[in-house]
Symmetry: C2
Subunit: 270 residues, 2 copies
């Protein structure tokens, strides 16, 4: 089995209103079931999701968090505005974005943008992925999978990796449960988060600094499916044991959970 991945050359600095599907199709030849990973920064820029810091008036809450974390209160205000829920205020702002991803600073980024500005995440990365996929189909007649990626840290491990925050034309996981191993044992827990592994592979090629290569095409793996949506990659609150521990610590409520509560927990860290 063989996987290959390459960066699409000469992607220009993206401006609001730019047509990413067209820009990609002009610069590479796509094939059915290619997987296209696109850094969320350029998707957001094309959608005009740029904010000038001087336009933001921080609330008292934002000012107090910023003091604790030694950060800019206007930046904190934007993070709060983009968040559905705060899991941790300090030493960093860990939030759930409106699209369901739990990450630091709501994915808001101050790099690769004019000083004094920041880039928000796309309004709805699933919809962005679908729009790009549909337009690529209308230009090339090719059915591709599209993954909008961000770079997130992880619990327990240093460093960040690429993750998928919006997808179209692909299922988020490859479910091995029920299949047999080499010894005929039925697998019980293996549900592989393929879109995150693909986003990580793409991130190896993107670079983070001045590389200017925010689009990667991956071929050799056929994960195409007429399906959209990253949503089911995120746990329902009742099943997310780590989130639950964080929230209990935050609210000073360390009551021992009932057996019923425990039984809801999913074996999601295997």
């Amino acid at each position: 089995m063989n996987l290959s991945a390459y960066t699409v050359p000469d992607i220009p600095l993206i401006q609001k209103g730019d047509d990413l599907a067209e820009i990609i199709c002009e610069r590479t030849v796509l094939h059915d079931h290619d997987i296209i990973a696109i850094a969320s920064t350029i998707v957001a820029k094309a959608e005009g999701r740029i904010i000038e810091l001087q336009d933001i008036s921080p609330s008292e809450h934002a000012i107090s968090i910023a003091e604790c974390n030694c950060s800019d209160p206007r930046f904190v205000q934007m993070v709060l505005d983009e968040s559905e829920e705060i899991l941790l205020e300090s030493p960093f702002l860990l939030v759930k974005t409106r699209n369901g991803n739990i990450c630091v600073n709501a994915g808001i980024d101050g790099s690769n943008i004019d000083r004094g500005h920041v880039v928000l995440l796309p309004e709805n990365s699933d919809q962005s992925a679908k729009n790009i996929r549909d337009e690529i189909f209308s230009i090339t007649d090719k059915k591709v999978s599209v993954i909008v990626t961000d770079t997130n840290g992880r619990a327990f491990r240093d460093g960040q990796t690429g993750v998928a925050i919006g997808i179209s034309g692909i299922r988020p996981t490859r479910d091995w449960r029920g299949s047999c191993d080499l010894f005929g044992n039925v697998l019980e827990v293996a549900n592989e988060a393929i879109v995150d592994e693909l986003a990580g592979a793409a991130n190896l090629l993107f670079g983070e600094a001045c590389d200017g290569t925010p689009v990667v095409i991956i071929s050799g793996l056929d994960f195409y499916a007429e399906e959209d949506g990253i949503g089911r990659m995120y746990f329902p609150e009742s099943e997310d044991v780590i989130r639950s521990a964080l929230m209990q610590t935050r609210h000073g409520d360390a009551a021992i959970r009932t057996q019923e509560d425990r039984s809801k927990g999913r074996l999601h860290l295997t």
Copy 2:
């Protein structure tokens, strides 16, 4: 930029004492700075890290955890034996292994092994990676990077991905901090966990079931470094905010941390 990855063909079922470096070198042509990802299962098998469940006498503690989690008390006993610390007993056993990785069930696996047996992780995956790298060098005169991989779940996201648990000939992260972006802004937080992204990419090719392809060669990316050790990928306890929340919840101690404690926290989830 271009990455390619392929599975080494015809890897036999690995037995205790098998020479993995020799098996790999007989089946593929390696080049300087190739990255070799090897599933920990075959490394452990070659090292004879297989346990027969019927040989295990579970303690009272193991029996009580097993009752809570509806699991086999002998299996739980093995997890306890392989763990340095328990972060969560239920609904699943989240532990820190003796090598420092925080994962479910100490990475002990019941798949791809005879029924009634389980495979432990390698005794010391860093040492295993180094041994394999050194022997590949002695056979081929090629300097390669070696990553021993496992499959772990993640906080907040469903599904498992490949991660690195032992490395040799490569640094665990690519530190972008201090480099400039396209707009001349200095990057402050980007420290990319490349060995995990590489392990994830390899996992896309390994498969989990009966594929029998536990060795992947990745080329096109040159991350070679005369360095060993996954250790600094794991946070010191004082800097691991999520672990701290889990431990507080576990011990019913949700006291508000001091400003001093908070300032120790690292921005590791960006």
